[in-house]
Symmetry: C2
Subunit: 121 residues, 2 copies
């Protein structure tokens, strides 16, 4: 846990509601707000060791959930495909505009790109 | 639980690994294989009441997970958007083919449609 693992934030996004409120709070302060253990201890009014234990237990729960359900990985794979769709839609708009083919194709491709971006928000 | 709720199968797809093996088995037989409680009891070698309890407990866990995490709803909303993308890509291909605009637009739109369909598989 000392090396701040970016993916913990992703796992919190999926499974955060499974954690206790305290675990969620300290994990948020540690990973998203980038506070030190000592700073979190001062803020949460618990010992530094208490903060450390809470982060470790929370992380274990998050990893266990992902190991069982794999939903963060499932969404991440989708994200790559959605980005590919978005790029292809942009390219259609480019070609279509360059040769002034069809207003409708331009609109449809723009809509696809917008929808794809909304999926990855 | 007597009215077979289609969405239970969807919840199993997301959270099934959280259930006990027995719960997963009886829920699968009841919702996906469409067996009666009596048939499942015979197959699983437990009482009809045991089957009923196992299904109810499993369902409660699935609904509790969805209430907390909302991941099945999140994926379902995406599905609608992805279908919209797929239809728009099909329409681009139609227009493009009708007016013989561009081989590249046709290929890009076909790829978008294929990728969109893979997302919803």
């Amino acid at each position: 846990m000392y090396e701040k693992d970016l993916s913990v934030s992703l796992l919190v996004d999926f499974y955060g509601e499974i954690l206790t409120e305290k675990q969620r709070e300290v994990i948020n302060l540690y990973y998203d707000e980038d506070l030190s253990l000592a700073e979190i201890a001062a803020e949460a009014k618990i010992t530094r060791q208490g903060v450390r234990d809470s982060i470790k237990r929370g992380e274990a729960t998050l990893h266990e959930m992902e190991e069982k359900l794999g939903l963060a990985a499932r969404f991440s794979n989708q994200k790559t495909t959605v980005e590919k769709i978005s790029r292809a839609a942009a390219k259609i708009q480019d070609i279509n505009a360059r040769f002034r083919y069809s207003g409708e194709i331009g609109e449809l491709a723009a809509q696809i790109q917008q929808d794809a971006e909304s999926l990855n928000e």
